[in-house]
C-alpha cells in the first residue's frame, strides 16, 4: 500500500542492502555514541553520589533534581539552536531574567492577565533574539560579541524593569503553579502509557513506511530495543516520581519542548537547513538556502527559549529579583548541551543533549550540595567536567576530519 515506485525492484537492491546494514550498525554506534557516553556518565555520577550519601537516589531528591534542572534545560534547548548553526548566545542568562521580570511586572504591578503576561515575557525574549540575530547577520559581527554586549544591556534592562525595590514577588497562582504542580499517581501512569504508546507507534509506523517504500531501515530488533528502553525508563521514572509528590507539571513542560524541538530539528526542512548552515554555510547559500534568515530564526528561538526557562525559574522561586538569570545559569545552559555531545563548531548535536546535559550538570550540583561541599570545590569540579567535555568534542572532531580524508 505504501509508495513503491515500480522502477526499483527488490532484487537490484539486495547488494546495496548488505552494505547498508553494516552502515546502519556503524551509524548506530557513532550516532548514539554521544548519548550512550552521557548516559554512562550520569550512571557513574549517580553511583558515586549515592555511595557518599544514600539520600541522593531517594524519590524526594530525584524529584528535586528534575525541578532544579527544568529552567536550565529549557534554556539549553534554545542554546542548541544557536550551537547547531555554529554560533553561540552569551545573553541567554540575562534574557531569561529580563523576560521573567517583564512577565512579573506586567502581572503583579500592571495587573495583566497571567497568561498574557507570560506571553509578553516570551515575546520579549523572542524579540531580543530577533534583534541580536539581525545585528549579527547585518553587520557580520561575531555572535559572541553581539550577545555579550546584549547580555550587559539586558542585565541593565532587568534592573530598570524591576524598579528600585529590586524584587517582584509572584502571587498569581496560574504562574506559580507552573513549577509547583504535581499530578496524582493515576494521571502520571496515564501520561506514561500515552507516551510509550505514541513512541512505539511512531517508531513502528516509520519502520513500516520505509520497508513499504523499499528503502534502507534500521533493523527491527534495534528499534524494538529502543522502544523497550524508553518504556522501561518512563515506567521507572513515573514510579519514582509517584512515590514522592507525583509527576511535576514542570517536567512535562520540559519534555514537551525537548520533544517538540527534537522533531522540528530532525524532521522538517527548517531543521535540515539549520544543520546545513552549521555544517557549511557557503554550501547552504549556494543550495539556495536563505542562510541569514535561518540564523535570525535560530537566535529568535534561542532567546525565546531563554525566556521560557526564565519564567519557569521565576515560577519555582515565586519571585523575580536582581540576580534572576545570573550566577551560573548562562554557563550551565551552554555547558550542558556541549557535555552531552552538541558540537561548539556547529552542525552536530541534538536537542536531547540539552536534557541529558542538564541532568549531568544538575546531578553534580545537587550531589555536591547534599555533601555540603564548599563553593570553591563545586566551581572547580563543574569547570573540570566542562573542560573534559569540550576536549572530547574537539578530539571527536579531529577524528572525523581524519576519516573524511581517507
Amino acid at each position: 500500500m505504501k509508495l513503491r515506485t515500480p522502477d526499483v525492484g527488490a532484487p537490484e537492491d539486495a547488494g546495496a542492502e548488505q552494505v547498508s546494514r553494516a552502515d546502519v550498525v556503524r551509524r548506530f554506534v557513532q550516532g548514539d555514541l554521544a548519548s550512550l557516553r552521557v548516559i554512562f556518565a550520569i550512571a557513574v555520577i549517580w553511583i558515586v553520589f549515592q555511595s557518599q550519601n544514600d539520600r541522593f537516589l531517594s524519590a524526594v531528591n530525584l524529584t528535586n533534581l528534575f525541578l532544579q534542572i527544568t529552567a536550565v534545560g529549557l534554556i539549553s534547548v534554545g542554546v542548541v539552536m544557536a550551537l547547531l548553526i555554529g554560533e553561540i548566545d552569551l545573553s541567554v542568562g540575562a534574557v531569561s531574567g529580563l523576560s521573567a521580570a517583564v512577565m512579573a511586572v506586567l502581572n503583579v504591578k500592571q495587573g495583566w492577565n497571567p497568561w498574557l503576561a507570560v506571553a509578553a515575557g516570551v515575546a520579549t525574549g523572542a524579540a531580543i533574539g530577533f534583534l541580536q540575530g539581525a545585528l549579527f547577520t547585518r553587520f557580520r559581527i561575531p555572535s559572541f560579541v553581539v550577545t555579550l554586549a546584549g547580555s550587559l544591556s539586558w542585565l541593565g534592562a532587568l534592573l530598570l524593569v524591576l524598579g528600585h525595590t529590586g524584587t517582584v514577588n509572584l502571587a498569581n497562582s496560574d504562574i506559580t503553579n507552573l513549577a509547583n504542580t504535581f499530578y496524582s499517581p493515576t494521571v502520571g501512569w496515564i501520561f506514561a502509557a500515552v507516551a510509550i504508546a505514541l513512541f512505539a507507534a511512531i517508531t513502528l509506523a516509520g519502520y513500516r513506511d520505509r520497508i513499504g517504500a523499499g528503502v534502507t531501515t534500521e533493523p527491527l530488533g534495534l528499534l524494538l530495543f529502543r522502544v523497550g528502553i524508553v518504556a522501561a525508563v518512563t515506567i521507572v521514572a513515573i514510579a519514582i516520581l509517584n512515590s514522592d509528590r507525583g509527576l511535576p507539571l514542570a517536567l512535562l513542560i520540559l519534555f514537551a519542548f525537548v520533544i517538540g524541538f527534537q522533531l522540528v530539528t530532525t524532521r522538517t526542512v527548517f531543521g535540515r537547513h539549520l544543520f546545513a548552515v552549521g555544517g557549511n554555510a557557503e554550501a547552504a547559500r549556494r543550495a539556495g538556502i536563505r542562510v541569514d534568515s535561518i540564523r535570525v530564526i535560530a537566535f529568535t528561538l534561542c532567546s525565546g527559549m531563554a525566556a521560557v526557562g526564565g519564567i519557569m525559574a521565576a515560577s519555582r522561586l515565586l519571585a523575580v529579583n536582581q540576580s534572576s538569570g545570573g550566577s551560573n545559569l548562562l554557563l550551565e545552559a551552554i555547558a550542558g548541551p556541549v557535555i552531552a555531545g552538541t558540537s561548539l563548531f556547529g552542525g552536530r548535536g541534538s536537542v536531547w543533549s540539552a536534557l541529558l546535559g542538564a541532568v549531568v550538570i544538575g546531578s553534580i550540583a545537587n550531589g555536591m550540595d547534599l555533601l555540603a561541599l564548599e563553593s570553591s570545590v563545586k566551581y572547580m569540579v563543574t569547570g573540570g567536567v566542562l573542560l573534559a567535555a569540550v576536549i572530547i568534542d574537539a578530539v571527536a572532531r579531529s577524528q572525523r576530519q581524519a576519516e573524511g580524508r581517507v
Binding site: 547498508s20 534502507t216 557549511n280 549556494r286
Partner: protein, 265 residues
C-alpha cells in the same frame, strides 16, 4: 538526431576587471551529448567564462543563445532556471549531512497532508530518488545514508555531480573535477562524465590535466589571454598541438570551428 544547433552558444563574450581584459570577444559553443574541455594557462579566462555562463559575473559585451534563442543570464538563479548546472571545485557539500540530505539540499521533498504546512521532510521519497539517480549514474557509495564527510574525494565529487543533475539541467559545467583525486577515483569521475554525455547533456569540463581531458573530451577549446586560441576535435589532435595553443608557442593547428557532437562513439 541531437537537435540541430548547439544547446548553448556564447557570442562575443567580453568581460574586464578594471584594466584587465579577462575575456575578449569569445565565441564558445556546446552541443548536446558532447564533452567540451575548456583549457588554458592560469589567467587565460577559463574561470571567468565559466562564471559568466553560470551567472556569477555579468558580462560587459556579447550574448548567449540557449537552444537557439537569445537569453540573458542575470544571475546564478537564472542560469539554473535555463538548465545550466555548475559543480565548483570546492563541491560545496555539507560534510555533517548524509548523501540524501546533500543531494536534496535546498530542494527537499515534503510530505503531503497535515505535515505539509510544517514542511516535514519526506525522507523515504528523497531516499528513493537518491537510489534511482545514483544507480543510473553507477555511482558507488557505501550507502545513501553515509555522512558525506566520511566519503572519499572521488565519491564526494560524484555526489556533487549527481546533485547538479537533480534540477534536470541541459548543460553541466565541472570545474577541475579530477583535481586532487587518486588514480582510481579519477577513473570513476571520468566514467561519470561519459555517462553525462550518454544522457545527452552538454558537458563543459575545466581542467589542467591533459591526459584526463583526452580521455573524455570530444572537443578541446583553448583560451589564451582572454581570447579563443583554438577549438580542436579531441580525436584528431595531439597533446603538443594543445600545449602549443595554450602557451602560444606555435599556432599550427587550425581551429576546426564547427563542433561535431557524438564523434566519440
Amino acid at each position: 538526431m541531437n537537435g540541430s544547433g548547439p544547446i548553448l552558444s556564447c557570442r562575443g563574450i567580453s568581460k574586464s576587471f578594471g584594466p584587465v581584459q579577462a575575456l575578449d570577444g569569445v565565441d564558445f559553443d556546446v552541443n548536446r551529448g558532447e564533452v567540451v574541455a575548456l583549457v588554458g594557462d592560469n589567467g587565460a579566462g577559463k574561470s571567468t567564462l565559466i562564471k559568466a555562463i553560470a551567472g556569477i559575473y555579468s558580462i560587459d559585451d556579447g550574448r548567449f543563445l540557449f537552444e537557439g534563442s537569445p537569453v540573458t543570464i542575470g544571475g546564478p538563479k537564472s542560469a539554473t532556471r535555463l538548465g545550466i548546472a555548475t559543480v565548483y571545485q570546492d563541491l560545496a557539500l555539507c560534510d555533517n549531512l548524509d548523501v540524501v540530505a546533500n543531494l536534496f539540499l535546498g530542494q527537499e521533498s515534503v510530505i503531503g497532508g497535515a505535515g505539509h504546512a510544517a514542511r516535514v521532510l519526506d525522507e523515504t521519497e528523497m531516499e528513493h530518488r537518491s537510489h534511482d539517480l545514483l544507480e543510473q549514474l553507477s555511482v558507488t557509495i557505501p550507502s545513501v545514508r553515509s555522512e558525506v564527510g566520511t566519503l572519499s574525494g572521488g565519491q564526494r565529487q560524484q555526489v556533487a555531480v549527481a546533485r547538479s543533475l537533480l534540477g534536470e539541467p541541459k548543460v553541466v559545467m565541472l570545474d577541475e573535477p579530477t583535481a586532487a583525486l587518486g588514480v582510481v577515483q579519477t577513473k570513476q569521475v571520468l566514467a561519470l562524465i561519459k555517462r553525462l554525455r550518454e544522457r545527452d547533456l552538454g558537458v563543459i569540463v575545466v581542467s589542467h590535466n591533459l591526459a584526463n581531458i583526452f580521455a573524455v573530451a570530444d572537443r578541446i577549446f583553448v583560451l589564451r589571454l582572454g581570447k579563443r586560441a583554438g577549438d580542436f576535435n579531441a580525436h584528431e589532435t595531439s597533446e603538443e598541438q594543445i600545449v602549443g595553443a595554450i602557451t602560444g608557442a606555435e599556432f599550427g593547428a587550425r581551429p576546426n570551428g564547427e563542433a561535431k557532437g557524438g564523434v566519440a562513439r
